[in-house]
Each structure stands twice: as C-alpha cells, then as structure tokens.
C-alpha cells in the first residue's frame, strides 16, 4: 500500500500549488514540496530492503481483460530513479520558486511539475508494461505543457509541439512493441516479462519488438536521429529543462532500455543497435555542443551526448558496462541538474544565454562560478568527480567489447574522441563564462556592459548541493553510490551482477591514459574552437528539426490537398459514390444468384398493364429529360404519381391508391410552391461526359433494382401474412386488414410515422423562420402576374366543395377499419379541402375564419394517439394494446367501437395539422412579401 501512496502523493501534490498559490510564492513552493518529500520518505523507507536485493511489489487489479493492473514495484533500478526524480525534483521545485518572475503563474507551473513528476515516478515504478506505457505517454503530455509554459513565445510553442510529436510517436510505437511482448509472454506483468527473456527472443516478432521498443526509447532519450527535439525544448523555463533533461524525461528512454534489458537484451541485434546509435549520438551531439552558442543549447547537446554514452554502455551489455551505465545515469543527473540551475541563474541575472556575450563573470558571481566549475568538471570527467569514475568504466568496457566484430576496435577510439569533445565543451563553458572576456559584436559593445551578482541563497542552494554531491560521490563512491548502483544494476541484469567496487584510483592503466589524452586533446580542441566553428559554418547545417518541421508541414499540405480533392463539396459526387457503393454491394449479392427467374410462374399481360407501364415509363423518362423545364417535369411526375395509384388499384391495394392520390395532390401543391421560389429554367452547365456517367450509373442501379424485383416476384415465400388475415377480425376487430395492421398490429409504426409527419411540420416551420425570399414579378414567359388575385369561380367552388369534402373525409375515416380508408386518407382529404380554401381565398381570409394553430392540432393528434396507447396500461396490457366491442343501441342498431378508432383520430389530426402546417407556413411567407411586389 505504501507503494501506491508514492505516485498518489505526487498526484495530489499537483493540486497543492493550485490552492496555495494565492498565499504567496514562498508558501506555495514550500507547501508543494511537502508531497514529494513525503514520497521521498516513503521511497527511502523501502530502500534498505531494496538495497538487500528485494523487489517490493504491489498489485491492484484494474482491467483484467486488458492485462492491465495497477501494479507497482520497487527494485534497485526503481529506487535509483525514484531517488533521482523525487530528490532532484524537490530541489528543482525549490529552485523554481525563486526562478519564476513575480507575475508568472507559479501555481500552474508547480502543478505541471508535480504532474510530470507523477508520470515519471509512474514509469519508474510500473510493474506492468501497459501501466508503464500509460505513464510514458503522460510524461509526453505533461512535458508538452511544461515546455510550452511560456506559450506566448513561438519557439516555446514549436519546441513543445515537436517534443510532443516526436515522443508521442515514439510512445505509440512503443505501445505496439509492448503489446507484441505481452503476446509473446502472455502477460504484461513486469516480473513475468523480465523472466521470459528467452521466450521473447525466440519469438518471430523479436526484431519487430526490438525496433518498436527502441524507437520509443530513442525518441524519448533523444538519440540520434531523433535527438532534434531536445535542443528546441530548451525554450522551456530553466527549472523545467533542469528537471526534464537531467533526471527525468530523457532518462525515461534509458530507463526503459535498462528495465527491459533482461527481456530484450542479450542479443546481437540489441547490442549492435544500441551501441551504434549510442556512439553516433554521443559523437554527433558532442560536436554540436562545442559549436552551440546558447548556454542551454550546449547543455542540451551535452545531455544528448551523455545519453548516447549511456545507451552505448547498455549496448555493450557486459555486467560492468551496465554498472557503468547505471552509475552514469546517476552521475549525469546530479551534475547536469546543477549545471542547468546555474545556467538558469546566469540567464536570470544577466538576461542573456549567449555564451559569446557573456564572460568574466567570476568576479561578479563567484558562487555560481564555483557551482559551474564543480559540475562542469564532473561533466568533463575530471577526477575526482563522479563523471570521471563512470567515464573510466566506459573506457575500460569499450576496450573489452566485441559487439561490432572486427570493427569493435573502433569503439575505444570513437569513445575517446567523444570524451575529448566533452572535455572541450565543458571547459568552454567554464572558461568563456567566467574567465574569458566576452566576444562582443559591435552593436553589442554599444550596449551597457552586463551587471550581475549572485542570486539569493534559495536559488543557489539546490545547485550547490548537487554540485557538491557530484564531488562527494567522486570522492567516496563506495559509501555514497555503490550500494545503490549495485542494487540498480542487479535489477537490470538479473542476478548475475557482480558486486562492484567503485574507487577513484584504479591504478595506472589504459583507461587512465585515455582520460589523460582526452583531457589534453580537449584543451587543444577548445583553443581551436573558433576555427572549428568557422569550418562547421562552411557546411550549411541541415538541422534535423528543420527537416522534421518541413516534413510535418509537407504532410499537412499533402493532407489538405488530398482532403480538398476528395471532399470537393460536390453533392453530386457524394451521391454518385453512394450509388456506386450500393451498386457494388448489391452486385455481390446478385452475382451469387443462379437463375433470375424463380419457380413461380409468370402472369399474363393485358392491355391495361401495358398502358400503365407505358405511362409510367413515359412519365419517369419524361421528367428526367425535361428536368430543365421544371413545370413540365412536374407534370410528368404527376403522370407517374397517377399511374402509381392506378397500379395500386389494379393490384388490389385500394388503401394505397387512395393514400397515393391524396399525397400526390399535396406533394404537387408543395412542389409548385417550391417552383415559385426556384429558378424555373436553369442553364445546362454540365458536360456531356458527366451526363453519360450519370446515365450509366442510373441505368445500372435501375437495372439492379429491377433484377432484384424480378427475382423476388418470381419466387415463393411463406410470409406472416396469413396470420394477419386470420386475426384481423377476431383480434383487431376490423375487416380491412391493411388498416388493422396500421392501427393495431403495427400501430407503433404508425405512431412513429405521424411523429415523423409532425416533426416535418415543425422542422419546416423552423426553416421558414426569418426567411428572405426571391420573388419573380412575372412568369416564365415574362408576363406579369394576373391581377385577378382570387378568381371568383374558384372561390365559389372551393366554398361548395369544403362541406362535401369534410363529409367525405368523415365517411372515409369512419369506414377505415372495415373498408378501404382510414384516418390518414381522411386527414389528407380535409387538408386538401382546406388548402383549396387558402388557394381560392388567400391566407388572411382563411386564417380569419379558421383560427386554429396547426402545430397544436398536430401535436394534439399525436397526443391522442399516445394517450390511446397508454390507456392500455390501465388494464395491464402493453402499450398500444387495442380493445373493441360491438354495442347495441336502440334505434341505431349495432355498431362497433374500437380503441383503434381513437388512435386513428390521432392520426387524422396529426395529418391535418402537419400538412397544413407545412403548406400554409410556406404560403404565409409569400404573403408577407407580396405587397412589396404589388406596389410597382
């Protein structure tokens, strides 16, 4: 349980600064420090056991399906990292409290730092690969926030994004790798994975796993060629750099490699890739560190270089090399953090980080100077600093390796070269900052000379502590570092780790000589630094970051191009695609059809059918061909509509025929209304090829649909129809089975249908709101509108028809259950009769006489239907259960009442309301606009 508290403490710690920021900077910093220090205490409490070689674990099942557990562990490696993260982290938090400018949002900053710390601690402690990945990605996100903390600066934004993208991409690759590992092992638990090294290496995916995992690790650790994000990340506030690039973020990659060494290591591939990448990174970065002018840039490149060194050591893979690697992780963290902090101080005090502008600072800021000298010497690998120890070990290991076969001999030489460069840039840092005179350009000379002094103690203390630490470790390695390092390397390489003696003096041996050579050569190189820089300037630097940014930009551009090409905003294309897809899919189905004509015999033709077919074909093709003569097209459409209803008559569907007819009329009116507002004869704009394409598509889909239909028509099926025919009278109380289905068997569909209708009414209402309209002054031929506003004869006929139509609709409604008819058709008849009034007499006149709110009519219709359905609950039956009965009244005789009729009444009202809502609203819009037109 204590283990769980460590990340939890830091997580909750992230909240502390948010709430304490209003109490002042100092209080906030101190309060924030509580959590990591407590966590550190918890870690230290576990330390003795861990140092004895124990592995402490804690598991809480989280998502067993995924193999993800909330599993934490502390072993040597974790201990090392936890101490670095929490220890150095606390120091940096303290430092940050002094570093930030007074007006900056320290609460947010510290919160981000704490979040990041949580993520890091999580990586170090994860006892489950997936959990590790979760935290891994979290570090990417939080580092994005930290690097971009000064988001108003464009370099900060760029740096942050680059870091996120590169490490995020690495993280995604890592995920793939980890999943593959998990599959090879059968578990994501760290213990099992680490123990299953052989299984993984034997897996056929091993190279892939390795590539993916290493990609993740290399991007995180800024290994060549993914190093470029790190220098750009220097746009962050210095405490961030100090934390991220000394002890944490970049170390995560190294940590991962170290952590997975038992699982993935011990293979040729591993050794070669690690050592080659490590070497290349080490050299490349060291060279750039020497040329860099920005102080933080120098440190960034040196970080990269040192990470390369560690990678190389891990690649060499021998027990001692691993010890060296672990030791160097520790060493690098201490001196690099100190260096970053001092650079931060210099930046803070002088306002610049340009190494050429700075110089001779010793007299002004001696304490800072001391700090830099101590830490810088450690970085250069001077005795008696800790850097020296690990470097000696590296030299030693480089001499005994044989990873590269015949080329292995090159390694010591290259390592020495790197060491030389490292000495050179370390010395450059110390020398040019504190002792040499600034190399100023003319304009810079014109500016007043820099004035600086050592900052407050709070800002100095953490750095000094760390610098002193690196000296102390160098002096007393056995006491201060050996147990930890041993425990850590034990964790890295299983139980074969030799207990190592660390000491400053190894005697006169080859590594010592190599060190000496490196120091001397380093000095020489430094003297030639100017010249080297000039030489380097001859070759225009192809900065990888530029390449990367250009690549991202190009990808985005390409993406934009492609997207615009695909989504050209043309509905015609989208529809063509829909048609094409449908065609392809149905084609697949039809391709399996053996014979088109099924077993059912064909019925004979007669003249009426031929006529009907001819009419429909004529209408359909006619309206397609005349689509530019819109009114004609509409008339043709009307022919189709009429013929469809005749077809329904012919094939025994009277209800459908009636519905179709009345819907036809209403649709017609609607379309004519539309015609008024749309251009009547638009130009032909499309190409012949487009027309041909459309024709082909249309014909193909038409053909396919016809084939489907034909195949269906000629086949027998047993449908559920018989049931309806049988149950209609006893169960539904009506002889018109279609109507009984509509209001009873499938009344729910009908409820949905009238909902749709009502919705359509409301939706059109919405659309017509505040609509501006185009209104022609004359018709197609250029003739002004007639002045006969309301033709008299029409008005009289409308007047006569209204009561008759109402009577008919009542009749149709009442007979619906037993004979063709029903609420729907009745509703449409009523609606049409009313619309005729509107047409004959105009909106205002009719409105005055019919003060009904159509939405209310429609909604109440729907409400009646629902209420009818609900009523069945009272009797304990499901929604919409119908009831009917035959009653006998004297004088009137027998008659039938059914709840379905009430439902049908709802349908009727909804239809009337919705239809009128749609048409009248549209009509009303024109009424509002018409007067303007009349004026002229």
């Amino acid at each position: 349980m204590a283990l769980l508290w460590i990340p939890l403490l830091t997580l909750f710690g992230a909240l502390v600064p948010v709430f304490t920021t209003r109490h002042g900077r100092r209080a906030c910093t101190l309060a924030t420090l509580v959590a990591p220090l407590l966590a550190l205490g918890l870690v230290l409490a576990q330390a003795p056991a861990v140092l004895d070689g124990e592995v402490i674990t804690f598991t809480l099942p989280w998502m067993p399906l995924l193999g993800l557990d909330l599993a934490l562990r502390i072993d040597g490696l974790t201990l090392l990292f936890a101490l670095l993260i929490l220890g150095i982290g606390s120091l940096i938090l303290y430092y940050a409290g002094h570093y930030l400018a007074a007006d900056e949002d320290d609460g947010r900053f510290l919160a981000y730092m704490m979040l990041f710390m949580t993520a890091m601690i999580g990586i170090a402690m994860a006892d489950n690969l997936l959990l590790l990945w979760l935290f891994w990605e979290l570090t990417s996100i939080t580092s994005f926030l930290l690097i971009g903390f000064w988001g108003h600066r464009s370099d900060a934004r760029r740096g942050a994004r680059m870091a996120l993208v590169v490490t995020g991409a690495g993280g995604l690759a890592l995920l793939a790798g980890l999943l593959l590992i998990g599959e090879a092992v059968g578990s994501f638990a760290m213990g099992e994975v680490l123990a299953a090294g052989d299984a993984i290496r034997a897996s056929s995916h091993y190279p892939l796993i390795l590539a993916l995992v290493l990609f993740g690790a290399f991007t995180k650790s800024a290994q060549f060629p993914f190093h470029f994000w790190l220098p750009h990340a220097m746009a962050a506030p210095t405490p961030v750099s100090a934390f991220l690039h000394s002890a944490t973020m970049v170390k995560a990659g190294v940590f991962l490699m170290a952590r997975l060494t038992p699982a993935l290591g011990d293979s040729q591939l591993w050794a070669i890739s690690l050592s080659l990448v490590g070497l290349a990174t080490m050299l490349y970065a060291a060279w750039f560190a020497l040329l860099e002018r920005d102080l933080k840039g120098i440190l960034a490149f040196s970080t990269v270089s040192h990470l390369g060194l560690i990678t190389l050591l891990l690649g060499l893979g021998s027990p001692l090399a691993i010890v060296a690697a672990v030791f160097h992780i520790f060493n690098h963290a201490t001196f690099k953090a100190a260096l970053f902090m001092s650079v931060g101080i210099i930046d803070h005090e002088t306002g610049t980080r340009d190494i050429d502008r700075l110089g001779a600072l010793w007299s002004m800021m001696p304490i800072t100077g001391t700090m830099v000298i101590l830490a810088g010497s450690a970085m250069a690998g001077f005795p008696p600093f800790n850097g020296f120890l690990s470097k000696e070990m590296l030299f030693e290991q480089s001499l005994v390796n044989n990873v590269l076969g015949a080329l292995s001999a090159l390694i010591p030489l290259l390592v020495m070269l790197a060491a030389t460069l490292s000495v050179a840039y370390s010395l450059r840092l110390i020398w040019s900052l504190f002792f040499a005179a600034p190399k100023l350009t003319r304009e810079q000379k014109a500016q007043p000379p820099l004035k600086a002094h050592d900052p407050a103690r709070g800002m100095l203390a953490p750095g000094l502590f760390l610098a002193a630490m690196s000296l102390a470790v160098g002096l007393f390695p056995m006491t201060l570092a050996a147990p930890l390092v041993n425990a850590a390397s034990l964790a890295v390489q299983g139980d074969t780790s030799p207990l190592l003696a660390l000491s400053l003096w190894h005697g006169l041996n080859l590594p010592l000589a190599m060190s000496l050579v490196a120091v001397i050569a380093g000095g020489l190189v430094l003297r030639q630094q100017r010249r080297l820089a000039d030489i380097a300037a001859l070759f225009p630097a192809r900065d990888a970051s530029r390449v990367f940014e250009a690549a991202v930009l190009r990808v985005i551009k390409a993406a934009l191009w492609l997207t615009m090409r695909l989504e050209n905003g043309s509905l015609q294309r989208y529809q063509a695609l829909l048609v094409l897809t449908a065609l392809a899919m149905v084609g697949v189905g039809l391709a399996n059809l053996e014979t088109l004509t099924g077993e059912r015999g064909l019925q004979p033709l007669d003249g009426m059918l031929v006529l009907g077919a001819a009419l429909m074909t004529f209408g359909a093709i006619g309206s397609a061909l005349s689509h530019r003569w819109r009114l004609v097209s509409l008339l043709m459409l009307s022919v189709v509509g009429l013929t469809v209803s005749l077809t329904f008559v012919r094939f025994s569907a009277p209800d459908l025929a009636m519905t179709q007819l009345s819907v036809e009329v209403v649709t017609m009116i609607l379309l004519i209304l539309a015609l008024f507002f749309l251009p009547q004869r638009p130009p032909l704009l499309v190409s012949r090829r487009r027309i041909l394409r459309d024709l082909v598509l249309a014909t193909a889909l038409g053909g396919v649909v016809a084939m489907l239909n034909y195949a269906l028509l000629t086949r027998e099926t047993i449908s559920i129809a018989d049931y309806f025919l049988r149950e209609s009278v006893p169960g539904g109380g009506g002889t018109n089975v279609v109507n009984v289905i509509l209001v009873d068997f499938r009344g729910f569909d009908t409820l949905g249908e009238i909902t749709v209708l009502t919705l359509a009414g409301l939706a059109t209402f919405k659309l017509l709101n505040r609509m501006k309209l185009f209104m022609p002054a004359g018709n197609l031929e250029g003739i002004r509108w007639s002045r006969h506003r309301y033709p008299m004869i029409l008005a009289v006929v409308a007047q006569i028809l209204l009561p008759l139509a109402l009577l008919v609709s009542v009749y149709i409604f009442l007979r619906g259950h037993n004979q063709p008819g029903g609420g729907f058709i009745a509703g449409l008849i009523t609606a049409v009769a009313l619309i005729l009034q509107y047409m004959a007499r105009g909106h205002d006149w009719t409105r005055e006489r019919l003060p009904l709110s159509y939405p209310v009519v429609a909604v109440s219709g729907l409400a009646i239907a629902v209420a009818t359905g609900l009523a069945s609950w009272l009797f304990g039956y499901p929604f919409l259960t119908s009831a009917f009965g035959h009653f006998h009244l004297p004088l009137i005789g027998e008659f039938e009442l059914a709840s379905a009729m009430l439902f049908d009444l709802g349908v009727y009202l909804a239809v009337v309301g919705a239809t009128l809502m749609i048409l009248i609203n549209l009509g009303r819009v024109t009424t509002l606009h018409r007067p303007r037109l009349e004026e002229r």
Partner: protein, 89 residues
C-alpha cells in the same frame, strides 16, 4: 355482350389516355400539357370504374371519388401558379 362492351369501353379509354399522353408530350404550351394531365385524371376515373365493373367489386370506388374530388386541386394549383405565381397568398 356486357363483356364485349366493357372491353370496347376499356379500349377506348385506354386509347384516350394514350392520346392524352401524346398531347402531354408534345405540348406545345404549358396549358396544353396541363389540360392533358387533367383529362388523364378524369379518364382514369373511368378506368377505375370500368375495372370495378370488370372485377365486379366496389372496393376501389372511393379511389375514383378521390380523383374526382382532389384531382382538380392540383390542376387549380398549377393554374394559379401560372396566373399569380404563388398559389397561397
């Protein structure tokens, strides 16, 4: 006899419909086409009634009523459109 008469009548109506369609197709003006369409509506009443006679049923009779009652509404609408532009003022 009745059957023959029915068939003759049907044939005549079918021919009438065909002629309507022809007029609808050739125009030349919108009112001509409209007239043709309206005549089609009226003729189809006859068609439905004859079908009813043929099948000896009155099930489809209401469809004929509907055509008689509503068919002219769309013709009116188009007339109004041609005369006044918008059909509901």
């Amino acid at each position: 006899m009745l059957d023959t008469a029915l068939m003759i009548s049907l044939a005549l109506i079918v021919l009438a419909l065909a002629m309507n369609v022809y007029r609808l197709a050739i125009g030349p003006d919108i009112p001509d086409r409209l007239l043709a369409l309206d005549t089609m509506y009226v003729n189809s009443i006859a068609l439905i009634v004859l079908l009813g006679l043929w099948l000896n049923t009155k099930t489809y009779f209401e469809a004929a009523i509907l055509i008689a009652m509503l068919g002219f509404v769309s013709t009116m609408a188009i007339c109004r459109y041609l005369l006044r532009g918008d059909i509901i003022e």
